[in-house]
Point group: C2
Chain length 650, copies 2
């Protein structure tokens, strides 16, 4: 709202119309649509409107099962690419699955189960083409931390596993519910900075946990904070196994180097993808031949053959532990969504197509619900895997199906091969993956662009590293929400001035050339006016006026006749807002200062009209542009003393 | 950002400058000042800068103790008005104090105590001249409901009283803390609609509770919801005392009529002010002479003489009940602030002076802390009392001191007179007061102006009436917060069009005259762009573009060459926001559509510059006005296909 065309006679200028009243239901409907269906998801269905019910049904089905969109036109070329990608991802998924399962204190086999069924579900329902389904390190750690406290896996492993399935079930239900209720925006409430900090902290903690495997320790603290871990490591220095340390460092170095290479040359992506499997194979052979288990190198041990057994019966939906499972499920569910959707969207952005957040939530939800009934634990779309999938040139979610089949074959025939796989290798795999998650550059950018975001990020990081994951998460969420409230409670108000030889009005604090119009004060309000900021805005505007009058006194200028409020940035207003304007008007009347509004939107006009504030201010003091308002005020306002009886030349 | 002057050559137009980098500390400092000291409280102190340390100290002291501002210039005339007002308020305060104490299940005498000490504290520290300190009905009811559950006053009255003092202490500490930490805006998070609904519901519940007194029942449900109350009333129909019913109705009628009169003719304010005391006196005499206590009319009974005994020792700061007291204190504290500050501000608005919210919080806090150590329970600035004070023509907070002295005299000499005061009169007093609190007109206005606010209001009301006070409160707060989040997560984006024979750009949905510029899409974003809405905005803008292209295809118009984002309403942007713009730019490049920004603020320019998005978009695509942006785009963009290599005529 700034920058106007000189209008010789304000009366001739187009007035701001009060929009005609609209049927209540229609307004409500429109608002609900805008709020919950901003992405217009049923466009495709609506398009088929002409095609009759049958085609509409097909379109709807296609909306629910995106695979129906790409399957019909699925080509052999696409299949080839997806095969390559799927197999590559599988070679990463198998060792990662086992490692993360260990991280979650679950039987290694569960990790493999979790890369099978959920991937199939996502292949059918997912709308991202690059996302590769699998378990996530942070989620696994959260399971170990939150559920382990309730049912130490050491004491009662069976209960612990059941709790894990239950938590997964709740996570899935929660995710699906968010999607169905179109509450996708809840995920947006976690700021990017908070996520970076939280993820970084979690990765650090996970790395520290791996010291257990690398050093070959048998006992280890269950606490996750750096202090406890370091103490527990140092206190057991006599227990360190040099063999395991050597092995670990060798493999870690190998993995990091391969990752470095494939980062350098994207066409070497397969290096980093195959490296984990390679190290698992190498490690297993090594241990097998040198009988490493006798030299204090722990191995995975027996893995039973066969695909996922059903686990629906194991869910503890009504027991004393249910609440813990629920809490764990909700927290991990949110984190899974936050990461998964972010990953999906960033790749979609690269290939220039759109990922529907709410659809993804439903897909994730069903994926986990089905998973919880087939011996899987929490799955999402981890970045590392999806990146490999993308670099391997996947074309459709079919790559997930391919991976699932590959994992299934592993489950059916190859599990015995993992008997001699040393845990230290798994630790190395996790560590190298986690070191990739810590995003230094992002932190640097945050510092450069937005110091506050930087603090949020660091706060979350420190909370995780020195407190525990929940503390870090609540710090992140807390600061994010507080920031939103501050944004809302402290909107910007700026003084506008006239730009030389033009009629544009611009912020005086931004453009030194902008000159105040004598006798007038032009203020712009940069936010909707409603209960959360009405009080503040009243005070702030009054303060602007006081300052202006002080200045006028000090420089003995022409006294203040009129305050022009530029309303074009005010998107909406509520009862408290209209009351605020009413108070302001009365207040200024007493100080015999006229008030004028420039370019209020239609919602504003409607509300002002209904609340009679429009009549109070006077229709003739509402203008299309700031320029007209100023001209009019200068022509029709006597100096201060009797400005109230401003006469209007209409 | 709308309305521009035709500029013949875009190159000649004033460019949008990138503000020079500012020292970090200074930026942080300014932001903190704007956020926490928007009302510039230290202005007075700063003014004395020249006057040296001494005078600055005086000014600071004056800031802490507002009474130092008006005492020096306190005139005899003011004293006379304050005497009248104070005595009038006292005549209301005494019966009301006793009644509300009964409502809170506390000994009646505590109600009198609570009108003495806190009033003195506020007289010294309060910055509102009309606010009259006293106990509040809703707060009293909350005490009875929340503390009564923990320690039924019937079983252990002594513990209950101590809990009440403790809760008051916590309320005060919480209020003071909010004030000292300048977190006044927390109170604003309760929307006006929510408060109206909640207060109305509470008033209804309080009235229902009075049926006990009116019907002369001895046993009554502790539940507050309408169902339980009605059941308990009906089930005891045989216990009803006609004498008490008659007495109650007579007095209630008397009180309502007087209130009606003084509403009609403000100069009869003393009628409504004196009526309660009058009915107490009349009731007492009546009961005394007809020995009403023998006819089943319950009376207050013995009140011991003397002023507030110290109660600091009674505070339960570390017991099993502390948590309940803390919870009660925080909730009632917030409600007390919400009502008190609202009352203070509305009267200040009438007399055209300013009430400092944070200062008031500190005053309220100390008032309650001191009160809790002198046998008082929660006090605030109830509307009914303050209105009487205002109508009685009070000039300064001195009227509170006068009232306090009057109450003190009552405590010292007149308490025996209340021995025969019938409870039914107290019930009548409470009822008439509460019927005044239910604000029908406000609800009507809400329905007329804002349907959503109306729903919030009704929701809170029903929650209180059919659930309980906490439920109602959490509904109110919950909806308010949800609404804020929605406001934030779903900002407005509107399409702008060129107004005929002017260069103003206005919303096409508001002004039918506004015409789209061929080949261009002008969008205005009406909110800061940050993590909470960046994702949504990306989707919404993309959707606008898609729709536009559909339209173009349908009507086979000139293809879309350039999207102009009007940024003038974007007050700030964060990392997620800049990332969003970056994504959008890349995305549009792929669709070979140019992007241009119009009138971004200095914060935006700084952030865009630091995050290199400015370089990505290109300095030559940032414009001072939408008009310039459009002219430039039309001149320099080839049609769609190769818009990316737009040449710039600079």
């Amino acid at each position: 709202m700034v920058g106007e065309q000189q209008v010789v006679d304000a009366a001739a200028a187009p007035r701001v119309p009060v929009p005609p009243a609209r049927p209540l239901l229609r307004t409500v409907g429109d608002n609900l649509m805008e709020t919950f269906f901003p992405d217009d998801p049923f466009r495709a269905v609506a398009r088929e409107g002409a095609g009759g019910r049958g085609r509409r049904a097909v379109a709807a089905l296609r909306y629910v099962l995106p695979c129906l969109e790409w399957l019909p036109s699925y080509s052999l070329g696409a299949l080839r690419s997806d095969l390559v990608a799927g197999v590559t991802v599988a070679s990463l998924a198998v060792p990662q699955g086992i490692s993360y399962a260990k991280l979650a204190d679950l039987p290694p086999i569960v990790g493999l189960y979790s890369s099978f069924v959920p991937a199939l579900v996502y292949a059918a329902m997912g709308s991202s083409r690059e996302l590769a389904v699998g378990t996530m390190a942070v989620g696994s750690l959260l399971f170990a931390a939150m559920l382990g406290r309730e049912a130490p896996p050491g004491e009662n492993p069976e209960l612990y596993v059941r709790l894990a399935f239950t938590a997964t079930f709740f996570a899935g239900t929660f995710q699906a519910a968010l999607g169905v209720l179109r509450l996708g925006f809840v995920v947006d409430m976690l700021s990017h900075a908070a996520i970076v900090g939280f993820m970084g902290g979690a990765a650090t903690v996970v790395c520290l946990q791996q010291l257990k495997g690398i050093l070959g320790l048998r006992h280890f603290t269950t606490a996750t904070d750096v202090v406890a871990v370091v103490r527990s490591v140092v206190s057991q220095s006599h227990e360190w196994r040099w063999q395991s340390v050597v092995l670990g460092c060798v493999f870690l170095a190998f993995l990091l180097i391969t990752r470095y290479f494939s980062k350098k040359r994207p066409k070497f992506f397969w290096l980093s993808a195959a490296a984990p499997l390679a190290s698992v194979v190498a490690g297993s052979f090594l241990v097998y031949f040198i009988h490493g288990e006798n030299h204090g190198i722990q191995v995975i041990g027996y893995l039973k053959k066969g695909i996922n057994p059903p686990s629906a019966r194991d869910l503890l939906l009504s027991s004393s532990h249910t609440m813990v499972a629920l809490k764990t499920g909700i927290i991990t569910g949110i984190i899974g969504l936050a990461e998964g959707i972010a990953v999906g969207r960033s790749f979609a952005m690269l290939k220039n197509y759109h990922v529907d957040g709410n659809k993804e939530m439903i897909a994730f939800g069903l994926m986990n619900i089905v998973g919880s009934c087939t011996s899987c634990y929490l799955t999402a779309g981890p970045f590392s895997r999806s990146a490999v999938n993308y670099n391997a040139g996947c074309k459709t979610p079919m790559s997930n199906a391919v991976m699932a089949v590959a994992v299934m074959l592993t489950l059916l025939f190859l599990t015995p091969l993992f008997h001699y796989t040393p845990l230290v290798v798994l630790s190395a795999i996790i560590m190298s993956a986690m070191l990739g998650v810590i995003d230094y550059q992002a932190v640097g950018r945050l510092w450069k662009v937005d110091k506050f975001d930087f603090c949020v990020c660091v706060g979350a990081y420190l909370g995780v590293v020195f407190g525990n994951i929940e503390i870090g998460l609540s710090i992140a969420v807390g600061i994010s929400i507080l920031r939103i409230l501050l944004f809302v409670a402290r909107p910007k108000t700026t003084v506008l001035g006239k730009m030389p030889n033009s009629t544009n009005f611009r912020r005086t604090d931004q453009y030194t050339a902008a000159q105040a119009v004598p006798g007038l004060l032009v203020l712009r309000i940069d936010s909707p006016i409603y209960f959360a900021n009405a009080g503040y805005l009243r005070e702030r505007i009054t303060r602007w006026i006081n300052h202006e009058e002080d200045r006028i006194k000090a420089e003995s200028l022409e006294s203040l006749k009129c305050v022009v409020l530029d309303m074009s940035a005010v998107a909406s207003i509520d009862m408290s807002g209209t009351n605020m304007l009413e108070d302001l008007k009365n207040n200024l009347d007493r100080r015999s200062i006229q008030i004028a509004l420039a370019n209020p939107g239609s919602e504003i006009m409607r509300k002002l009209d209904k609340s009679n504030v429009l009549r109070l201010i006077g229709d003739e003091w509402i203008f299309l542009t700031v320029g007209e308002a100023c001209d009019h005020a200068q022509r029709n306002c006597k100096t201060g003393t009797d400005a109230v009886q401003c006469t209007v030349a209409v």
